[in-house]
Amino acid sequence: MTEYVGMAMPRYDGIGQVKGQTKFVDDFVLPGMLYAKALRSPVHKGLIRSVDFSAAKKVPGVVGFVTADDIPGNRLFGACGDQQVLAESYTAYKGEDIALVVAVDEDTCMEALEKVKLDIEEQEPVFDMFEAAKPGAPLVRPDLKSNMWEFMPGVTTRVIYLGDVDKGLAEADYIVEGRYTTGEQDHAAMEPMVSVAYFDDAERLVIHTHSQCLQFQLGSLASIFDLPLSRIRYIGGVVGGGFGGKNHIHADHFAGLAALKFRRPVKYRLSRREDLLYSTKRGVFILEYKTGVKKDGRLTANYIKLWHDAGAYGGFSPYGVEKCSMFASGPYHIPNMRVEGQCVFTNKAGSSSMRGFTIMNGQFPMEMQMTKVAEAVGIDQWELRFINAWRDGDMGVSRYVVRGAGALEAMTGAAKLAGIELPDHLLAMSSRGR
């Protein structure tokens, strides 16, 4: 029998792609379909005094508006359940959705949006997480007690440790310190956020989605719409690039709410500009490292403090702080490790999962440290990494036991391909044991 696993073969669905026949969400254009666009907060932080749709309503082609009062179920969503579906009394980042205008086409939506009279009181935003963390700092949202995420009641620092980091640093011959900032990126999938929703013959709400995770989002949508899961047909599976950005709901809730209210097919999509400015992004981490090492190159300790800018809502950020912490010492055996992580709210669009989610934010500083450690000790950087690389049975900071270790194999393979000759004593090492 042919064995298919291990065989190079083109994508199963590739023919449709090269013929341009694959139906992405925005490719669905239905008879009588309406379009929705969002009224957004013009300020980074504000208190909504009133929204007056009376002039906008008169624009020919306008079908109506959707506000928080039209939401049948939950008015909050997101991984932490703290994000407003539509803002009611406050906005916490520039571009936050306040209402939807629904019309026969997007031109009409835009014309009507210009005529909506939004009375919003601009408040002092806070962008810098160290400012936001100070006692007495302006609150990012009125529903917060402080701008710090609580991992457990009253606990704003997630501590994960193994061994005794103070002892490990005391044992070290060299200590290398560094402070690193990992910037903010956009997923920038070629397909911007979009959704199409309508009711089918059986009165089920059909949603064409580019979701990366149908199950999670279906649950969230059902609670917003107050519909049983079985009343929603959530059709996905064709996605124009996700990279973590489509783990969040950006469009399905709005297309669905408008379809619920007006009982007609509705398309809601973000322009590229809206997508870049107002959708979720990879949030910033700032990390401080203190790495201890013996003269012979053995790592003794790694002490990390990190801060993550969550933006205005929790999303996956608290999870991300923990995930970053668990792997921020790289693929290395270090007997003593301690990570202290904090997650801080600021008045920006929410942070998100993105390719390499929070792992790359920890690998970057760790590898910078490793190169600096090699320089400090005066040891070849490959040798430093080979000596310390995980073997099966080593333990990570959160006490997981490493199985199937392969850092040595990856390094050996890369060196060979790149034309770098490694000494025999390194090539003789095995991930199967130390």
Binding site: D107, M110, E111, S271, R273
Partner: protein, 281 residues
Amino acid sequence: MKEVSYFAPTEVGEAAKLLAEYGDKAAILAGGTDLVAQLNYYEVKPAALLYIGGLGLDYVREKGGKLVIGAGTTTAHLLASDLVAQKFPVLAAAAATHGSPAVRTVATIGGNLGTASPAGDLIPPLMVMDADVILASVRGERAVPVKDFFTGPGETVRAADELIVEIQVPLLPGKAVFEKVGRRKAQVCSIVSAAVRLEMDGGVCKDARIVLGSMAPTPLRCPKAEGMLKGKAVDAALIAKCAAQAVAESDPIDDQRATAWYRQKAGTALVGRALTKAAGV
């Protein structure tokens, strides 16, 4: 957007009449690479679109010691033109960095002038050659030196009833060089650009032009820096001083692409490089 009129005249006179009627309520559509993006994002709301692609303004000719370029000449046409390659190679060098191939097939030199971006790639080469913009209207034609054409970002001396119809480029002697830096290596808006032209006699500079892009509200001539070179033997030390002077004449800002600090630093480097190449030192 539904009530916008569309006109596609086939003669300049016809276009001029329409412009006389509509003035600034008409948007002049050539390649559309700037205008249509603005329409897509509801940033402009013209009463009419005046498409000038049918006016026959896509040409490059040599006439009376000048290179005459129709305003509707596309960047791709400039790149393919033997005349441009031979007589005005610095324009081809800039054109090669302009947008991407699918933009260059439609983007026009007149549009690059009319858009009046301080980052317009084709402008610095035109300015180092003392080129003129020819504007036509029902009132007649006039020539405006490119260096006097811009009044601010997106703003020019073109009256609302005037149409850019031609660019006339004196084939001045000397070697001209274009340099540009952006955030990536292709399809990129310049953070800073520079064009220079040096007419050398032995090691001595007879005439000089230095133009900076993205360093001021408009593309900028640097007359004091030019003055430092004229009549002088050009060496590395003078080039360094001159580059610093050119940047001192500019007024860059912080924006999404870089800070003024960076523009000054990189601008100095680009002018220095361009002068070095142009002087052959």
